[in-house]
């Protein structure tokens, strides 16, 4: 699978598709002239940049990965809304129940894009914020931190996202 | 509908005056003064938008906030000295 996604034609095709999609969204119209101009400009840019886009070339392209992407998006939006309700409760309560601390979270993700997405997701989920990215771990700031146990924190913070990102990027 | 734009422009005017005062009176750190100057031009671009000039707003955001802030920070990193934070 990786042989296929890392060859040049796939990379350039991905870049071309992303550029064309961006152009159409920027114009907010799907007319003939928009698409023609977009195809020409996107082809020129694709010819100039041979390497393509990294976040497409790292991704796997099998049915499980596509399914995992959608499940990941749903889970992410659910967590984002949960995070905001929790934060609203903290902000509105009169005596501010917080106990901040920075905890280490281990991750097995290898590809840079997968780790970027994991760090971004942790930043937007309940009471956690990625501070620094190490070699095999992330340092996460928590609003409410009861114990400094690394394994327990890994289970609680990262496991939900890692399950999907594992399938998407490996 | 016009009262919405009026409220927004009043809030923006307050923000612009506060940002400009901060840019002038930030004695401790040069970075804060540059940041405040960038903030003033960002608010100014929203103000231009309210006044009905999207092209001017885009130019203001690009030149006033983007280019000037980058240039100032580039120069600040080169110069160093005369600053105590």
């Amino acid at each position: 699978m990786n042989d296929f996604t890392s060859n040049g034609a796939f990379r350039q095709g991905g870049l071309f598709a992303v550029l064309l999609l961006f152009w159409v969204m920027l114009n907010n119209a799907l007319t003939v002239e928009t698409v023609v101009v977009g195809v020409i400009v996107a082809a020129v840019i694709t010819a100039l940049f041979k390497d393509g886009m990294s976040f497409l070339t790292d991704a796997r392209l099998n049915p499980q990965a596509v399914l995992a992407t959608f499940l990941y998006l749903g889970y992410f939006l659910k967590e984002l809304i949960k995070a905001n309700i929790a934060l609203a409760a903290i902000v509105l309560s009169p005596n501010l129940p917080i106990k901040p601390g920075i905890v280490k979270v281990r991750t097995e993700l290898k590809s840079p894009m997968g780790r970027l997405l994991l760090a971004n997701s942790i930043t937007l989920t309940p009471g956690t914020l990625t501070v620094e990215v190490g070699e095999d771990c992330l340092y996460v700031h928590c609003v409410m931190l009861e114990s400094g146990d690394v394994n327990e924190a890994t289970q609680r913070i990262a496991a939900g996202f890692e399950k999907y990102l594992e399938v998407m990027y490996g | 509908m016009n009262s919405i734009l009026l409220i927004m422009s009043v809030v923006l005017a307050v923000a612009m005056i506060a940002g400009a005062l901060m840019a002038v009176y930030a004695k401790r750190s040069m970075a804060i003064a540059i940041l405040a100057a960038g903030a003033v031009s960002l608010f100014a671009s929203v103000m231009f938008l309210i006044l009905g000039a999207p092209d001017v707003a885009m130019t203001e955001a690009a030149i006033g906030s983007g280019l000037t802030t980058f240039l100032f920070f580039f120069v600040l990193r080169r110069v160093r000295g005369g600053e105590h934070d």
Binding site: L26, N28 | M1, S3, I4, L5, I7, M8, V11, V14, A15, A18, G19, M22, S29, A31, I32, L35, G38, A39, L42, F43, S45, V46, L49, I50, G52, P54, A57, M58, A61, A62, S65, G66, T69, F70, F73, L76, R77, D85
Partner: protein
């Protein structure tokens, strides 16, 4: 009804803007001010969307896009500068 709700939304956004502005002026150290600046720019994007709704012109959304890009780059530059210090 819709107009009233739009009015309420712009009032709330203005209040949020003023609160963030207070933190921007007051902030004890530089990082606090940069955080407040980030929040101010995101609220400004919301304000641009509200202006576009009131004036009923889609061109205004381009400004929101440029704004988001530039404020992001500005915050990155400032944060790198502050991180290099000390």
């Amino acid at each position: 009804m819709v107009e009233g709700l739009l009015y309420l939304a712009s009032m709330l956004a203005g209040a949020a803007f003023l609160l963030a502005l207070y933190r921007f002026v007051q902030g004890p150290n530089a990082v606090d001010r940069v955080v407040a600046f980030d929040v101010l720019t995101v609220i400004s994007i919301t304000a641009i969307v509200l202006v576009a709704l009131v004036e009923n012109r889609i061109v205004y959304l381009d400004v929101a896009l440029v704004y988001a890009l530039l404020s992001f780059l500005g915050v990155i530059v400032i944060a790198r500068y502050l991180g290099k210090e000390t």
